[in-house]
Amino acid sequence: MGLREVLLAVFAFGALAFALAVVSTRNTVYAALEFVAHLLCLAALYCLLDAPLLGVLQVMVYAGAIMVLFLFAVMMLDIQETGRESAFQGPGQVAGALLLAALLFALLVFGADRFPAAALAPAAAPGAPGVGADNVVRVARALFERGALVFEAVGVLLLTAVVAVMVMAKRRLEN
């Protein structure tokens, strides 16, 4: 087992452990911080899977912007005190969800079993996003040569989001 395998194991375990922590923590701020840690583990996994650009995208956008928005929302709602006694649904619902999650996981693991165990394509495969300096260039080609139309659609979606948030905030701005 080389350094790479050890790191993969550590970050995979970290991602799963922090995910479980998010689900089981009562305090919303702690849950948000654990989610950030979960995201950082995922970013490290992306880097180990030869996708450093996605790893840094994950940290910049998810951890650096989306989660900051979450923390702002937590502070705006001031839910440190409320929700303490009723963080979870009733026991029946929890048991049902647990069963469903276990079933889902079992089903999907069964499906994943059909992939050859150790087969990750060599990074030098034609068209593959290699880990070197051309990683960015290859992803950029996939984004802007074949995905140009989707890219424009994403732009329109972001515009919609800005307009929607402005409309929601309008009443409060006028007060």
């Binding site: 701020v29 911080l33 450093p52 900051v68």
Partner: protein, 392 residues
């Protein structure tokens, strides 16, 4: 003696990973020393002396060891001792772990960003090529931005866990200010990256060393100037003067120094760190100095040619300075000195700005960021992009 050296050489040649591991440790020690010395000790001394010079005072000069005052240099050691020995106050309602985590995050994210900053090219040791960068990632500059983004958590946590409404308001203002200018910071370097075509700092420096202004697409086409421009190195600042000015301004806001120091406002406003004392408070202050070194370094790499020195060419074991051959080692030393001098210049320039300008009002900062810098950065990018593509 000879035999010991020989056996060392043999051992090193036989274990390439050992060479790299030792090199990694050496690079880490070097970088930590630089950051702690400059960010932790020297910059706060320079700050005192620079302000004293500009205000016609003498500045800090009393701290002495055995009567030696050394121009006040020992004040920083006295500060460090005081920081360690002060009471570490944790508000009774605050979570001690998170209260401690906040300053730790604020400074360590900024320092980890140094991992992608090169301090030289590549050297060869025992048949191994060793990059003079701790982590030569292909997405270097984005790594710095990502770490800056993570630094926000230190501020948010400090404000939130302190259980003080002024801390909370201070942290909101600080966060809003820093994230507003992260967009401007990210947009203003893009014009220069259009030429470098890489997100790796080493490629950026290599491009600036390998080109002159005569070879730049739209400048090189101007018939009369071509001959003159061929003597000027193609540094980012010549390609992107507006981009450089905007970037420099945005970085000063990012590190929340005067004239944009609303988050802590030393004299009258109370900010996100009011419930901090002793070493933790000093660490918040130190993170500002660390960021100022970080940005000076990035500016030199992106806009001022990194370690390149006009007229100096390093080839395969030979150095040529304006046509005169030099020993290779002195060429390398010249490059290192050029890099260090450029960084020191920008650190000094940041100090100059800090002590020259009065503080902005909060609405003025937000206005400047969103209504002036962002449109200007977008316009700069659009013009550069169109010219760069059409004059291909």
């Amino acid at each position: 003696m000879h035999t010991a050296l020989d056996s060392l050489n043999a051992a090193m040649s036989a274990h390439p990973l050992l060479v790299q591991a030792l090199a990694a440790v050496a690079k880490t020690v070097f970088m930590m020393t630089v950051v702690m010395l400059i960010g932790g000790l020297i910059l706060s001394w320079v700050e005192r002396k620079q302000s004293a010079i500009m205000q016609d005072r003498i500045g800090a000069n009393r701290a002495a060891i055995l009567g030696v005052r050394a121009w006040g240099l020992f004040h920083n050691l006295a500060d460090a001792a005081k920081g360690i020995l002060k009471e570490d106050f944790i508000p009774p309602d605050a979570n001690p772990f998170l209260h401690t985590l906040a300053p730790f995050l604020a400074v360590s994210t900024a320092v980890v960003a140094f991992a992608v900053l090169p301090f030289g090219g590549t050297v060869h040791l025992w048949g191994q090529s060793v990059d003079l960068t701790i982590a030569p990632l292909p997405i270097g500059i984005l790594f710095v931005w990502a770490m800056m983004g993570m630094g926000v958590y230190g501020v948010v946590l400090a404000g939130y866990v302190s259980n003080n409404k002024f801390s909370l308001l201070g942290c909101l203002r600080a966060t809003a200010q820093v994230i507003s200018y992260e967009v401007a910071t990210g947009l203003t370097v893009l014009g220069a990256l259009l030429f470098y075509r890489s997100l790796d700092f080493r490629d950026m420096v290599a491009w600036q060393m390998g080109h002159n202004l005569g070879q730049v697409p739209f400048l090189g086409h101007l018939p009369d100037l071509g001959a003159v421009l061929a003597h000027i190195p193609a540094w980012g600042v010549f390609l992107q003067p507006l981009g450089f000015v905007l970037f420099f301004t945005a970085t000063i806001v990012e590190m929340t120094r005067i004239p944009f120091d609303l988050p802590e406002g030393e004299s009258e406003i109370i900010g996100y760190n009011i419930e901090y004392s002793g070493m933790k408070f000093m660490i918040f202050m130190m993170s500002e100095f660390v960021e100022s070194l970080l940005f000076a370094w990035v500016i030199v790499l992106v806009f001022f040619g990194g370690w390149s020195l006009p007229g100096l060419h390093l080839g395969d074991g030979v150095a040529v300075l304006f046509g005169h051959a030099l020993p290779y080692a002195s060429g390398v030393a010249l490059e290192a000195a050029a890099m260090a001098l450029k960084i020191v210049f920008f650190l000094w320039f940041q100090m100059l700005v800090r002590w020259s300008l009065p503080r902005f009002r909060y609405d003025q900062i937000m206005h400047l960021g969103w209504k002036i810098m962002l449109p200007l950065a977008l316009a700069n990018l659009a013009v550069t992009g169109v010219l760069g593509v059409l004059a291909r």
